[in-house]
Symmetry: C2
Subunit: 493 residues, 2 copies
C-alpha cells in the first residue's frame, strides 16, 4: 500500500494482523483514559504506540491537570470553587471562540473526573503552592496555573487554583516527574482491565467500509504494513502537530522554529488520517506559548515591548505572557528591574535558575538605560514615570498587577533582552463533539471514528491554562473510550 | 441525494444534466479568468453561479488589483519596480508563513498578467493617486494599497505603488465601480470564447470516480439536484467563508460578528466540498481587516490603544492598521488629534465623509482628555509628550510615521473612540500548488480538482494588501483554467 493518508477500503484488506473491539492510536493521556473506559464498558481494547512504550508527551510533562468545581483537594486547602465559576473562567480565558458545549461539559464533569483519577490511583498531595512559577518546586498538589488570581480574570471569576499536580515521589522507584506519576497508575489500571498494547507500531491511515464507517487502521511496523481491525471503533490519540514543519508553516506560522511539545512524535499524523476521511478541523492557529522568564523576577519588574511600553500584568500566568509576547508584541519583550527587586527575586526559594540570565544592559538611571537599549528618548522613561507615579500608592491602574508586586523602580536599573524567549505547541486539531466523535465537514460524526487529546481542538480555542491539555485529553479521552465501546453517547451536559 | 458535502461516486449518477470539459463553480474573478484560459486551451467550458448572474464579490469590490514588477502603468507614472522588489515586499508584508513558491510565481508573472488583463479589455487610466485613503476618489489608475511607502516596509523594499484600479467610467452606461469595470471585459472575453454559464445553480458536492478523480459536481437548482459532468476538471472559485458562522467560530473567531466580504454567498461551500474529498487547508485564521477611520485624519493624528499607547505608524495602509487593532490591540483604538490638524484633514479633497465621526471627547489639555477617557494619569500624557518631543524635530523615532504627517499636538485636543471599528473577510482556504491543483492532505494533487480565489489560501498568509485578492484570484484562476483544460502544468517559476 502507498505511503499515504488516504483511507484504505476494507475490501482491499487481505487479512488482519490484529483485531480488537476498540483500537486506540497513541498511549498518552487521551489513549490511556480511552482504554480504561472502553475496557470497563466491556470492549476488548488494543492500544498502538509508535514508540517503544506507553507515556506519550504526558509522561514527560509537568503533570498539571486542570480540575475544579470544588474538588476535595481544593476544599481541603481552603479554596471555594463551583462548576459555574470554573466555566466562567474557562470561557473568558481560553477564547476567543471556545466550544461552549465542551467547556460546559468539562467544568460540570470536573469533580467526577477528579474522583475517577484518584480512584485509578492518582495521588494529589494536600499542599498548596502560591508563588509565581511554571512548576511546583516540590511535590505540592495544587497551584494557580492559568492566571486565575491575576488581572483581568480575578475580576471576572472568583479566583480558585485548579492546577492539580500528581505527587511526584514514587516510593518504590524514587522521585519521578508529575506527568509520569499521572500516567503510571492509569496505565496500571488499564493493564489490570486487560487492555493490550503493541509498541513500535505507527498508525498511518484509516480503513473504511463501503458506507464510510471506520473499521480499522493501516499501521507501519519495522517498515512493513500492519492491518488492525477495530470491530467497534478507532480512537485517535496521537498528539499535536507541533513537530510537523509543513503543518506549522501552513496553520501556525508564528511557531516556525520554536516547537516545545514534549515529544517529536507530535507530527499531526492522526489529524491528517482523519482529514483524509473528510474530518473537520478547528482553531488550527491556536498555540500554547511558554515564555522563558523567571516568574519571580517578572512579577517584581515591568515587562515592556519593543517600543518600551507595558502590555500585560507581569504577575499573571506565564503562558498568557508568552501568547501576548509572540502574537501581540511581535515576539519582543524586555524585563526592566531595579537592583533591589532583582536581588529579592533571586533570594526567593523558587526563583528558577534555569530561567536566570544576566542582564543585557545595566545603568544608573532609566534615561541611560533607555538610551543603551536604543529606544527613543522618552519611550521607556515615560513608561517608568507613569508606573512609578501609581506604584507610590501601591496601585497599577494601567494593567492591575497585584499590589504585593507593585513598587516604584528606584536607583540603578537593568534590562533583560527577552526577544524570542518563546516556544510552544499547537492546540488546534480535529473537530469533535462532546462525546469525542470526530465530525465530518458536513457536521455529522464519521461512524466508528473518535478522538481526544491534542490531535483534537479541545477546551482551548485561543488562550491556554496549564493543565488543560492533560485535562481535556483525559476527560474527553474517557468519553472517546465509552463512545467507541458502546456506540452510546454520554449526556452529561 | 443527501444535503451533504460528501463526494458522490460516479457510479451513483443516473444521468448528467449538463456536461462540459471544464466545469467552474463561481463566476467571480477567479472563475472568469479560469474560464478564459480553459477556453483558450481548447476546452468546452461551463461556469455555474449560485446567483442570478456573473460578478461575484469582485464586481462589487473596489477593484484594486495588485500588479507590479514594472508594469507599463507604473513606468508611465514614474515608478520603478522589479519582480524581485515586489517579491521582497510581498514576502515581508503578507506573512508570516507565506507560500514562497506562490509569491515568487506571482511577482515574476505580474508583468505578463498586466498585459493579459489589458488585452482582455481592462483599462487602467494613467493617473496616480498618492493621498491617504481606502479607494481612489475618481478614476485614477494607480495608488499605494499595502503600506509600501510607510514604515516598516519603505525600508525593506523600494516603495512602489502596485494597486491598479480599472477605470471607472463606462461611457455607454455611466459611472460604474472599478470592480465591475474589471469583471465586465473579462466576462465579455469569456463569452466571446464560447464559455457557457448557468445561473441560480449552487455547487454542493463533488462527484468522484473509483480512483478518486473528480469527475463532476452535484449542484442544487430550485430545490432539485443537478448533476454536472466535468470531462477534464472542476475548478472551485466559490469565494471565502466570511459568512459561514460555524467556520468563523472554529477558524477565525476574532471575526465573529464582523464579516465584510462583499457578498453573503461567501459561505465556504467550495472549501467544504473539497475537504470532504481529503483536501488540505492553509492559514484558516488569516483575515483581511478593514478599519473604519478616515485615513486623512489618521495620518494627521496619533492612534493609541486601550492603554493610551501608540502602536503603528498612522500613515500606513488601513488594512494593516485594522489587523493591528483587531489582533494585537484587542479591538481597541482611539484617535487623538488637535483641532488644527482635524480641520486640515476635513479640508482635504479626499477626507471620506463616510468615515467621519464627531469626536467622543474634547478637552483643553491632554491631561483633561486623558481623565475624560478614563485612562490612568500619565498614560496618554506620557505618550503625547514623547510624540511631541520628537515631532518638534519632524521625526517619529518610535514608529517612523513619515515627516510630512508629523507635527506636535498643540492646543485643544479631541479623541475618537474607535473600539470595534473593524470588519473583515477571510484569507484562508484550500491548499493549492502554483498550478492551482488542490492538494490532498497527503501532499499529492487531487486528480481533476483545481481551485483559485478566496476559497484557497493564496499569496496572503497573515498580512494583506488591497488588490491581492483580485490579484491572486485572477492570476491563479488563469492557472486553474489551463491546468484543468490541459492537464499540463505551467512552469513559470
Amino acid at each position: 500500500m502507498p505511503d499515504s493518508r488516504r483511507p484504505v477500503p476494507t475490501t482491499e484488506v487481505p487479512a488482519w494482523d490484529f483485531e480488537a473491539d476498540v483500537v486506540i492510536a497513541g498511549y498518552g493521556i487521551a489513549g490511556v483514559c480511552a482504554a480504561i473506559e472502553a475496557a470497563r464498558a466491556g470492549a476488548d481494547v488494543l492500544v498502538l504506540d509508535r514508540t517503544g512504550g506507553w507515556g506519550g508527551a504526558a509522561a514527560l510533562s509537568g503533570g498539571w491537570i486542570y480540575l475544579g468545581g470544588g474538588t476535595p483537594l481544593q476544599r481541603a486547602l481552603g479554596f471555594e470553587d463551583s462548576a459555574e465559576n470554573m466555566e466562567t473562567f474557562m470561557t473568558a480565558a481560553l477564547g476567543p471562540g471556545v466550544d461552549a458545549a465542551k467547556i460546559h461539559a468539562y467544568a460540570h464533569g470536573s469533580l467526577e473526573h477528579f474522583h475517577w483519577l484518584t480512584d485509578c490511583g492518582v495521588v494529589f498531595k494536600e499542599q498548596f503552592w502560591g508563588e509565581p512559577g511554571w512548576e511546583v518546586p516540590h511535590d505540592e498538589g495544587l497551584g494557580y496555573s492559568g492566571g486565575e488570581n491575576a488581572a483581568p480574570f480575578k475580576d471576572i471569576a472568583s479566583p480558585a487554583p485548579r492546577g492539580h499536580v500528581p505527587q511526584m515521589t514514587d516510593k518504590r522507584t524514587g522521585v519521578r516527574g508529575a506527568g509520569y506519576m499521572l500516567m503510571k497508575p492509569l496505565v496500571a489500571t488499564a493493564e489490570a482491565l486487560g487492555v493490550r498494547a503493541e509498541y513500535d507500531i505507527r498508525a498511518q491511515a484509516l480503513v473504511t467500509g463501503p458506507d464510510g464507517r471506520v473499521e480499522g487502521v493501516v499501521a507501519r511496523r519495522f517498515g512493513k504494513d500492519v492491518l488492525v481491525r477495530a470491530r467497534r471503533g478507532v480512537v485517535l490519540a496521537t498528539g499535536s502537530f507541533a513537530y510537523n514543519t509543513e503543518m506549522i508553516e501552513t496553520y501556525a506560522p508564528r511557531l516556525i522554529g520554536r516547537p516545545a511539545a514534549a515529544i517529536e512524535e507530535h507530527d499531526g499524523a492522526g489529524i491528517l488520517m482523519a482529514q483524509a476521511a473528510g474530518a473537520a478541523l478547528a482553531h488550527m492557529d491556536a498555540t500554547e506559548v511558554a515564555f522563558f522568564g523567571d516568574p519571580q523576577m517578572l512579577a517584581r519588574g515591568i515587562l515592556v515591548n519593543g517600543r518600551g511600553q507595558r502590555f500585560i500584568a507581569e504577575d499573571t500566568y506565564g503562558g498568557r505572557i508568552g501568547q501576548a509576547v509572540l502574537i501581540q508584541q511581535d515576539n519582543a519583550a524586555f524585563l526592566i528591574m531595579d537592583m533591589d527587586s532583582h536581588e529579592e527575586a533571586l533570594a526567593t526559594e523558587t526563583s528558577t535558575p534555569y530561567f536566570r540570565q544576566p542582564p543585557t544592559w545595566a545603568a544608573e538611571t532609566v534615561a541611560e538605560l533607555e538610551a543603551d537599549m536604543g529606544l527613543p528618548a522618552g519611550a521607556l522613561t515615560g513608561t517608568v514615570d507613569t508606573y512609578n507615579r501609581h506604584a507610590a500608592d501601591g496601585t497599577d491602574p494601567l494593567l492591575h498587577k497585584k499590589t504585593q508586586w507593585v513598587r516604584p523602580l528606584t536607583g540603578p536599573v537593568a534590562a533583560w533582552d527577552m526577544r524570542g524567549f518563546t516556544a510552544g505547541f499547537t492546540l488546534g486539531g480535529l473537530r469533535t463533539d462532546v462525546d469525542s466523535r470526530v465530525l465530518h465537514v458536513d457536521g455529522a460524526p464519521i461512524p466508528g471514528l473518535y478522538a481526544a487529546g491534542r490531535c483534537t481542538s479541545g477546551v482551548c480555542a485561543g488562550g491556554y491554562a496549564s493543565g488543560t491539555s492533560l485535562g481535556d485529553g483525559s476527560f474527553f479521552g474517557r468519553r472517546a473510550g465509552v463512545s467507541a465501546a458502546t456506540g452510546e453517547l454520554l449526556d452529561l451536559q
